[in-house]
Amino acid sequence: MRRYRFPKLMYLVLVLLLLVAVGLAACAQQPATEAPAQEQPAEKPAEEKPMEEEITLAIEHFSIIEGTTWSGAHDRAGKRIAEKYPNVSYIYREEVGPDSTVPFAEELIAEGADIVIGNAEFMGLPLKDIADKYPQVIFGSVIASDLTTKPNFVRFFPRQYQALYLEGLVAAALTESGNIGVVSAFPSVQVIRRQAGFTLGVLDGAELLNKDVTIYVKYVGDWYNPTEEREIAKTLIDQYKVDVLTQQSDSGSPLDVATESGIWYVGKDMDIVGEYGWSSTDTVAISFDTRWEVIYDRMVQSKLEGNPPETVMYPGMESTFTLADGTVETTVDIMNDGKVGVEAISPKALPKIPQEIVDLVKQRREQMMKGEWDPFTAHAFISNGTGLELEGQPVPEKGAEVKPAGETPTVEWLLAQFNFDLEGVTILE
């Protein structure tokens, strides 16, 4: 009689599978963020520039477009540019990994692309390797922490921290428990910088209202891990009594937990209520929107004018783009349910927010739109003693003043060297 034994080889295969699972558990997804745009009252008609040359803008998206906040916003930007300029067309590729960035780019160039963008640093950086081969093409990549440039390899990011500062003011006003939670990805320059904007807003709001507010940050270890994001959101609510929740990670789970728990949620990157209808203003107190078209427009203009592009672009609320229908939009702006500015504050949340905070949101927004005020210039940077150790740049000791109030940090420092949390946050294990 034949006897069957579970072969040893099979055990080996299973052990390997388990190791894969360990990897899955420990590995991560990539970037995240950004948002769709929206409508402000039409103020001026679209500027129709006479443009003879045909331009093709190509975007390589690291993820799929549909239903995503990051690539969805980049895609919307490409469409808005093409809609505005009859002689500009927009083409794209989805789910581009770092190994396929260059092959896809060359394919897009063969299709006529004059501008090729990688919408995340991990897959956009390889474009610099072919920048010299195609000097007539402008290449561009989002910045996460690297600032490598070439004359035709542009690095860019929007000053989202400005909108996050305004959100922080609202969050400080809304918390009753005095505890605000952040479900965050992992310590990186981009995450730290964004959290710093939010933190300064909360601290200013708390000071104005004479409230004691604690910001709890708990890292997922990944930009995208829906299950853990959910669990961390629940932990923040159950154990740390958080009643205002925000996130610097990518899945919709924290929003769902906030809805389920009946607490306030502060959005990021896009107007998820107005754009996707993922929730309502009963939960989303405020959110913000990012308009990448402000940046892409600069590249298109430099191409049309035959001028070399700026190699580092870091526009904020002072920079605008006029849509084809004449709507003027800033690079970033607070936005919720299709409304911008203080109108974006949830109608249900608004009565709970003292007038002085509403006035301050309005005032700071206007000042930032005029380029007269910036939270990172106005405030001192006091280290919390936590953050990300960079090569040759340890995390400053707790309490150390890294930058005095009134001094404007350089673009390079903000984009590549901001490596510490600001005093006022509690980083949870």
């Binding site: 009689m1 034949r2 006897r3 069957y4 034994r5 579970f6 072969p7 040893k8 099979m10 055990y11 295969v13 299973l14 052990v15 599978l17 388990l18 190791l19 894969v20 699972a21 360990v22 899955l24 558990a25 420990a26 799929i64 549909e66 239903g67 995503t68 270890g221 995208y224 891990n225 829906p226 299950t227 853990e228 959910r230 669990e231 961390i232 629940k234 932990t235 159950d238 154990q239 899945s251 919709g252 789970s253 929003l255 769902d256 809805t259 389920e260 998820i272 996707y276 209808g277 993922w278 929730s279 949870l428 294990e429």
Partner: protein, 291 residues
Amino acid sequence: MLAFLIRSLEAAMIFTFAGLGELVDQRGGVLNVGLEGIMLFGATLGFIAAKITGNYFIGFMVGMGVGALLGLAHGFFSITLGVDQVVSGMGIWIFGFGMTTYIGNPHTGPLGLERLPTVFEISPFFFLAVAMVVVVWFVLSKTGWGLNVRSVGEQPEVAEVSGLKVARIRYLCVIFGGMMSGFAGAVYGLYYNPVWNYNFLMGWGFISLALVFFSMWNPFLLFGGAVLFGLLWQLSLNPQMFFPGLASRYIWRMVPFIMTILVLILISSNWFRTRWGAATPEALGKPYHKE
């Protein structure tokens, strides 16, 4: 603390559903490493169905149905065609990962239905999981059906000679296994984390697979392991609650897999085979060809 325990049990119930299906699969001699893919399908299609119809029941039925179909597909490849079971299972996993991303993307975001109620703050699915453990144990250990399943998983030639239809029994096992995995996915997508995102399981199917080996094919041990894995999962998120400063949460996260690897090493040892040799279904992973 109570919240910690409740959330541990919610994770445990999902591991239990998927693990029980795989356990029956394996007791019948068929290994299905594609649990993750089937769970992704069950979660995604169940989520879409519930979202479109606004009906949870339809969502769960769709989840179970698609799981059963994928189990049937695995059966066709591994039983009828006799292909390598690991390869077939891996194919289902990869297919599930890609296809559910494609199908589900337009539905990214929260489910938008009112949450299902709890019983004393505990998920009703937890009680269902406990009941299923007892039922599976009873059927496998105390009934003729269970004996037939175990027979084809141990010595299919003998079972065939005794008049059992090995292929048919194995088909029923893989369909049941697929159905349970699909249901586990649906519970995840409709109850535990009702927000669709691509690849949202992030390895829970593999945890369930590991659990079957950890349990040494015993439903009660499987349930105990599920609760243990659920606790470890929660601990990996909040290690400071019990062991502040002891180890990074990323180390804790790997503990269930490390424990399973140790169990695999243990049960493949000669000592274990001599002492507890009956634990592993003898014909597990081997295609059976009628002679």
